[in-house]
Symmetry: C2
Subunit: 133 residues, 2 copies
């Protein structure tokens, strides 16, 4: 979060003003926003940014591997600032998406799948957040 221009350059991204705004928006967000959530947030501070630019920039960030996309919800792609391997929990009441640490879960048996070369995987969980007493 500190030096965004340096971060963007380290991913091969020219840090323009708009891109910095998108980076600040998407990285400093309750995780897994949709493009339009990012757009709305950025426009609070930068009301003139265009929708096309936000979509272009998010897609650029994905291509450069600063972000990932996730298909965890009907109808819209979510952008994930956590580009490393991890799992996901979806709260079925609120739709909220939570990260689950890679090491918290063990998955066995992928090697023996006949005919399938798995290059990546994740566990997708659905349920409710347990009430804390």
């Amino acid at each position: 979060m500190d030096n965004l221009p340096v971060l963007l350059r380290s991913y091969g991204i020219q840090p323009t003003l708009q891109r910095l705004a998108v980076a600040e928006g998407v990285l400093g967000m309750d995780s897994h926003p949709s493009a339009d959530q990012v757009l709305a947030r950025i426009r609070e501070r930068y009301p003139t940014i265009s929708r096309a630019t936000v979509y272009n920039t998010l897609n650029l960030f994905v291509k450069k591997r600063l972000l990932r996309t996730q298909n965890l919800r009907d109808g819209t792609v979510l952008f994930d600032p956590n580009a490393g391997p991890h799992h996901h929990f979806v709260d079925e009441e609120t739709g909220e998406v939570l990260d689950v640490a890679w090491d918290a879960i063990r998955v066995a048996g992928l090697e023996s799948l006949d005919g399938l070369e798995v290059s990546e995987f994740q566990v997708v969980m659905r349920g409710r957040r347990r009430s804390r007493n």
Copy 2:
């Protein structure tokens, strides 16, 4: 596949002509079609069916738990005739979705997730189909 009216009734679904056509289409398909793929297929035999009816019917089947939906692809929901628990493999070249048997994979550690009550889960794998020599 045998007696579709009886099958539909057993799920609490009134078997109309249109619903039988949708059931025949979606159940007898290379798995995981989108709504519009189902529509196209049904119209080969039943050219007058409306798009709204296909969407209505698929959503009804999901509500009655004859089908499930899966979010495995950008931009469109896939309908899954396999309503029981299983995992998925997505071929990143073709987009093809394959079922992976529940027992082929072991997942451990879900119990110890703090604050999360997991009611269902699946492993989502991406990769390529291994070339058969």
